[in-house]
Subunit: 793 residues, 2 copies
Amino acid sequence: MASFAKSWIAISASAVFLWFAFLASAPFLRHVDSYLDFLASTREIPEITPFQAPYKNVWADLNQQEADALLEFLFESPELNLTEASNATSRDNTLMQLGVLQPNKTDILCYLNGSAGVPERWAHVVVAQGVTKDACIVNYMLGPLPPNALTEIRPLKYIFNSGRNHVTNPVPNQEDLLMWIIGELQGVSDITQKILGTDVFASPDGLDIRTGAAYIGNGTFATWVQFYRQDSSSDAGWLLPQGLYFKLQTVTRDPANWKMSQWYYNGLVYDSAAELREALKRPGFLLNPLNLNGPWTDTEDFREGPPGRELPPPTMIQPSGPRFKIDHQQNFISWMGFEFFISTSQERGLSLHNIKFDGDTVIFEVGLQEALAHYAGDDPAQGALAFMDTLGNMGIYMRNLVPGYDCPAYATYLSASYHNGGASITRKNSICVFEYAADHALRRHTSDEHVSISRNTYLVVRSVSTMGNYDFTIEYIFYLDGTIEVKLRASGFIWAAFHTPTSESAKRNEYGYRVHEALATSMHDHVLNFKADLDVAGTSNTFVRVGIEPATVEYPWDEETTTPRNTMHLVEHAVEKEAGINWPANSGEMYIVMNDNSTNSWGKKRGYRITPGTGMGTPSHLSILNSTALRKSAEWAYKDLWLVKQKDTEPRSAEPLNYYVPRDPLVDFGKFVDDEEVVDEDLVIYFNLGSHHIPHSGDIPNTLMHTSASSVMFTPFNFHDRDASRRRVQGVKLEFGDEGTQARYFGGRHLEGVHLKAVSRPTDLEPDLLEYDTERQLGRNMSWIYNLIPRGN
Amino acid sequence: MASFAKSWIAISASAVFLWFAFLASAPFLRHVDSYLDFLASTREIPEITPFQAPYKNVWADLNQQEADALLEFLFESPELNLTEASNATSRDNTLMQLGVLQPNKTDILCYLNGSAGVPERWAHVVVAQGVTKDACIVNYMLGPLPPNALTEIRPLKYIFNSGRNHVTNPVPNQEDLLMWIIGELQGVSDITQKILGTDVFASPDGLDIRTGAAYIGNGTFATWVQFYRQDSSSDAGWLLPQGLYFKLQTVTRDPANWKMSQWYYNGLVYDSAAELREALKRPGFLLNPLNLNGPWTDTEDFREGPPGRELPPPTMIQPSGPRFKIDHQQNFISWMGFEFFISTSQERGLSLHNIKFDGDTVIFEVGLQEALAHYAGDDPAQGALAFMDTLGNMGIYMRNLVPGYDCPAYATYLSASYHNGGASITRKNSICVFEYAADHALRRHTSDEHVSISRNTYLVVRSVSTMGNYDFTIEYIFYLDGTIEVKLRASGFIWAAFHTPTSESAKRNEYGYRVHEALATSMHDHVLNFKADLDVAGTSNTFVRVGIEPATVEYPWDEETTTPRNTMHLVEHAVEKEAGINWPANSGEMYIVMNDNSTNSWGKKRGYRITPGTGMGTPSHLSILNSTALRKSAEWAYKDLWLVKQKDTEPRSAEPLNYYVPRDPLVDFGKFVDDEEVVDEDLVIYFNLGSHHIPHSGDIPNTLMHTSASSVMFTPFNFHDRDASRRRVQGVKLEFGDEGTQARYFGGRHLEGVHLKAVSRPTDLEPDLLEYDTERQLGRNMSWIYNLIPRGN
C-alpha cells in the first residue's frame, strides 16, 4: 500500500482545482494542510510608535476567539447536525468553511459617518451536507457574534441572486471514489505498461493521474482523467502529461453506478479498456514518443553563465526604516496621505477597504472576485479545461513570501488566518508591504536655469496565491499623486498538453506549440475579475466616457487653410445605464468616474480615471464566445469592465460554488447588469485582469513574470487643484552654475561651461546622492552611501 | 535695449520647435548653446579590465578629428561657398549640421560577416544656402573620410524618396525678422497694456511671444503668435499664455512684404491692430481674467507633507560594481549574453545597433525616427500646433542626466558630441547605463517540497531629450530571457492654452480642462516613430499574425456536450505584402517575426514577438485623420506599426526638414508601403510610441512619468529551446524543512510546522538575504546587509 499511498498523495496534491474542494470536506485535509507555514521563525516586528486606525476593521475575517466560540456553537446546533471531520463519512454533515460575512455597505457607511455604531459581526458558514439523499453544499449566515441568546443560524441567500443557498455536491464521497479508482487502475496496468512503460503503482517514476475538466449534471459527474509521469524531485509533474486518458463517470453516490468508460489515445476514442487492449494487439498500433522528465524541467541551471552572473546584483535598501505606518490590530495602513484597511478571505485572498487619499474617499472596496483559466485543445483534458480558482481557496494558498526574493528583505510581512474544515490555518508572512523606488523619476524638467527632478517612490501591498501549477502575484500599488494600481503577474508551471505528432491541429499549431520531445503548450485565457467599488469624493458618482475623436472644423482664424481643418476634439457623455464596456480601440476614450456634486477650484468635476496600467498592453477578456465549459457561471469574463449600481445584495460578482452548477449558478453575474440607471449613483466597477497566454519554449520550465503582467490603474482626474504629489515627494532642484569644466569647442568659439549646485531639497535628511556624486561630499549620517561608489567596468 | 534683449532671449529659448531650426543657421546659436554641459566635474570612469568590441562601431557619429578635418575641407570648397557663421548674413551660405552618413546596411553586413572590410566613412552635411534668390536648406554627402584626393561632395538624394536634396527655407533671415517684429511690437504696446496690463518691453514681468504652428507655402510663411507672461524664476512660462494672438505673414525675404496682419482675442478675429484698438474703445469690450504666475506653477512644494516625507526613501545600491562591460571607444555594451553598439545623432538622439543575444542576431537597428506632438484647440495657437521634434535636434537636447535622480547614482554615464552650426557640442553624462532590480521576481513557484524564485534584474540604456517644454525619456531595456523593451516617458510642462471663459468649447471641455484661473489644458497626441530593423536569427524573416479566435468544434471525445463545443484556437498567417497594422482589439492577435529557415530543437520556427509592453495600456497612433497641419509629412503616424522591406534607400521613416515642406516632404513615408512582397525578406518594423495626452489638473505643474509611459517589447518566441534566463539568472531554491515554529491549530488537530532552508544558490557570493532574514546569519563579505534591518513602524 505504500506505493498506493504515494500515488494517491500525488493525485490529491496535483489534481488541484477540482479536487481541492472535495478535500476540504474530508480527512484528506491533512495533505492539503501539509502545505503550511514556512518561514515560521521570522522576526517579530517591534512596535516603536503605536499607531491606531480611526475605525475598527469591520471587514476583517473571524479571529481565533470568534472562531473558537463559533465552532462550539456550531457543533451544538441540532439544525446543522455536524460531525467532527475526523469521525465523519460522506453520509455525515461536516463543516467546510468558516469566515466572516462582511457587513452590508449600507451599515458600514453609517458606522463610518458616525450615524451608527460598529456593525454586528456575522459569520458565513459552509456545510457539506451528507445526511440527505442528495449530498449538498449549503451556505448559512450566523450571528450576531459572539454567540449569545440572540444568535441565530439562517440560510444565506440574500447575496446569491439565484435565490438558493446550496448546490448539489457532485462528488461527496471522495474517499470512496479514490479507493474505487485505485481498484480499477489495478486492472489496466497492462495498458499503461504497454503504452507508457510504467504504471501508477511504480515508484518513484510511476504515473500520477490528474484532471481538471468536469461535466457536472444533476447528481452526475464525468471527467476525463489523464496519466502524468510522477516527478519525485520538484513540481515538474505539470510538464509530464502522457497522452493517455480515461473517462470517469459517476451517477448517484452508489459505486455500482460508477464507471471508467471511454479511453483516448493518439486521437482515437476507445469505448472501453477492453477495446483499447484489443487495438494494442493489432500490428502497427502507433505508439507515441514518451514525455519523460529530465534537466529540461529544472527551474535552476547552475552551469556557468555569462560574465557577471557571479556578482551580486543591485539591491534595494531602506536605510531609515519604513515610511508607512501599520496598525497591526486593525490591518490599517497609512502612507503619504493614503489610508486603507486590509482584509483576507480564504476563497479570494486580499481585499483593500475604504481607501482614502488626503481624507477624501476614493475606493470603498477593491479585491479579487474570481480567477478563471480557460484552456482549449483537441485532447479530452485540455479541450474542456476551465478552472475557477476561488474554489481552490486563493486566500489559503497565499503562501509565505520569501524575503529578499518575493519582496524586498526590508518589507513588512503580515500574516493571515483562515478557518477551514474545522481547523485554523495561519499563513505567516503571506502579505508584504513595502515602499520601493522606481528606476525612473516621477517628473523632471530641464530649463535654461534649472533642472528639477522628483523621486518616484511607491507603496506595494502584495500576495502570491499558488494554485497548483500557477503562482498568481496580485498587488496593489499606491503612488504619490493619488494613483492606485491593481496588478497581476503569473508564474509557475504551465498546464501543458501531450504532443501528439500525428495530430493535424498540432501540425498547424492550432492550440499551442511543441516545446519538448512529447510536450506541447496549451493556449489559455487568464481572466481575473476584480471589484472596485469607487466612491470618488463620496458615493454619488457618474461614469463618463470621453471620446478622443477626429473632427473637421472651420475656425474663424484659420484663413490659411482653404478647407475646413482636420483635427480632433473631446466628446463627453455619461453612461446612463448599467453596462459592460471594453477598452477602446487606439486608446480612443477615457473612462472617468466623476462626482457631479464636487468640483475642484477650477469648476471641473472631480474624478478618478480608470485606465489600463503598466501591464503588457491592455488587459484582455475571454476570447471564447458563450463558453460551453463555463455556461452561465462567469458572465463577467466577456467584457473588460462592467459598471453596475452598488447593492447590498450583490456584494460579489462570483461565487466559488458556481463551478458545480454552471448552468444555474448561485451568483449569475449576467443578472447584475439589468438596465438600472447609474447617473449620480453609488457605482461599482468590475474589471478584468489577465491575458491570452499562448506559451512557447520560453515558458519552459516556468512562465516569466516581467512579460506576464496585466494592470488597471485608478488615477486622479481633476480630483485636486494641482498635482497632489508635490506635497509629499522628495527631489532636487539644481541651478546651473558658472564654474566647472569648460566644454570642448571647435570652430573657434567658446561657450560657458556650467555645473550643477543644489539649491534646495526637501529635508536635511535626504541622502544627498547628487552632491556626493558631483562634489564628492557625503551627506551627514549617510555612511551607507559609501556603497554607492561605482566600480569600473 | 536691455529689455529688448531679455525679451528676445525668451523668444528664442521658448518658441522652441519652429525657431530652433532657424537658430541653427544663425548667430543666435549662442543662446541655444548656453543650454550646455552641466555636471562637468563628474567622475572619470576607471578602466579596470579593458574590454573590446569585436567590430568597429560603423554607426558612430563623426569624432572630433573627423569633424575638424572635414570642416577645413568644407570651408575650402568653392562648390559650397560657405561663410563662417560669425561673419555670415542670411544672404550667405552657412554650415548648419555635420554628421555621419551611416553606411548602407548592405555594406555593413558584408563587414560583419567578414566578406568586406570596414565600410567607408561619409559625412552628411546640411547647408543653409542664402546666396541664391530663393533661400534653401540643402543636403550633401561627402566622402570618403578623412578628406583625401578621392573625397567628393555630392547632393544627398538617395535616402530621400522625393528625389530632392533640398527644401525652401521659409524664414532664412531670422535676425531681420526678429528685429522687424520688435519694431512692430513697439507700435502695439497700448493694446497689450490695455488687455494684458503689460508689454514685451517690461521687465521682469513683461510678455514673451511664442509660436509653434506655421503655415508654410512656397516662399511664404505665416504663423499665429501668442503673448505669454515672462517667468523670471523657473520655466513656468509655458503655463502662462495670455490669450492674445497676432498673425505674422512673410512673403519672400523682403521685409516690405512682411506684415503683422490679423489679431485674435476672446474668440474674435480682428483684421488689424487698428481694428482691435477701435474695438477696445467701445464700451462693454469684454476683458478676460489674466493668467498670472504664482506658487501654483512651482515644481517644488516645501511645505510640510505627510509623516514620512522627512525620511530617506528606499534606494538601490550596487555593492560590487556593474555586471556589464563597456568598450568606451566603440560604445559597445555587453551584459548577460546581450551585445550591442550605441550611436547618437543630433537630430534623433540614441540608436542601438547589431543587438545580439547569445551570439544570435536579433535587431540590426532600433532608434527614434521622429517625435510628433499634435494639438487641437479652438484658438489660433493650439488649433494649428504640430511639432516634429527632430527639427529641434533631439540629440543635442539630450541634456546631462542627474545621478541619483534621473538614473541611479551608481549608473555609468556616457557623453555624446555633435557638430552643429560650425561648433562642437559635448553633452556630458547624457546617456546612462545601469542594471536595476525589479520590485518583483522574474519567476517563482511554490510546490509541496520547495519554493524556487529567480531575481528579475535588467539593464537600462536611457537618455532624456528636453524639447522646450517637454522632457522625453527614451530607454532601451534588456531582460535576462532575451526580451528587449523600448520605452518612452513624457514629463515637463504642458503646452497649455489660455482659458477663455466665454468659449463654448471651453464650457463643454472640448479640447481640454480648465486648470487655473485663466489656463486650460490642451489635448494633444504624442506619436513617436521608432525603427526596428529586426534580423531574427538572420535577415530572412516573415511577419506572422497569429489570431486568438473563438471557434465552435465537435471533438470525438466530447460526448457529454450534446452540441459542438464553443472554444477558441489559433489561426496563423504570414503577412505577404508591406502593410500598416494596428494593435488588435482585445489583444486578440500575436505579431511574430519568424525565421522560416531556422527552427528550435522542437521544429518550431524561431521568432521574436512584437507586443505592447509595460507602458500605460497599448501605445496609440494619431487620432486625427488626414491631418491638415501635417499634410503628407508624417504618414507613419496613422497606424500603430508598419512592416516594410529593408532598403538602403529607405534608412529612415522621417526627415527633420519635412516640417518645412509638408505637402511635398523630402521623405514621404507613405511611399514606403508600396505592395512589395515581404515573405522571407529583410524586414523593417516601424512602430509608434506615445499616447493621447488629455492633461488635467494633475498635470500642473508638470506631467508625471509613472502614468505617461508607453512601450513596445520584443520577446523571444520559440527562439530558444527553453527559457534562456535560466543560464544567467540568480535566485534561490529552498526546501521545506521539518523544524521551526509550530502552526497554531484549532479543532484539536496538529499539523506539521515547516521552515525553509536554502538548498542551493548560484554562487557563494550571492547576498544571502534569506538566511539572514530567517536564521539571523549574515552572508560572508556582506556587511552592508546590516542596513537591511527593518525598523518598526
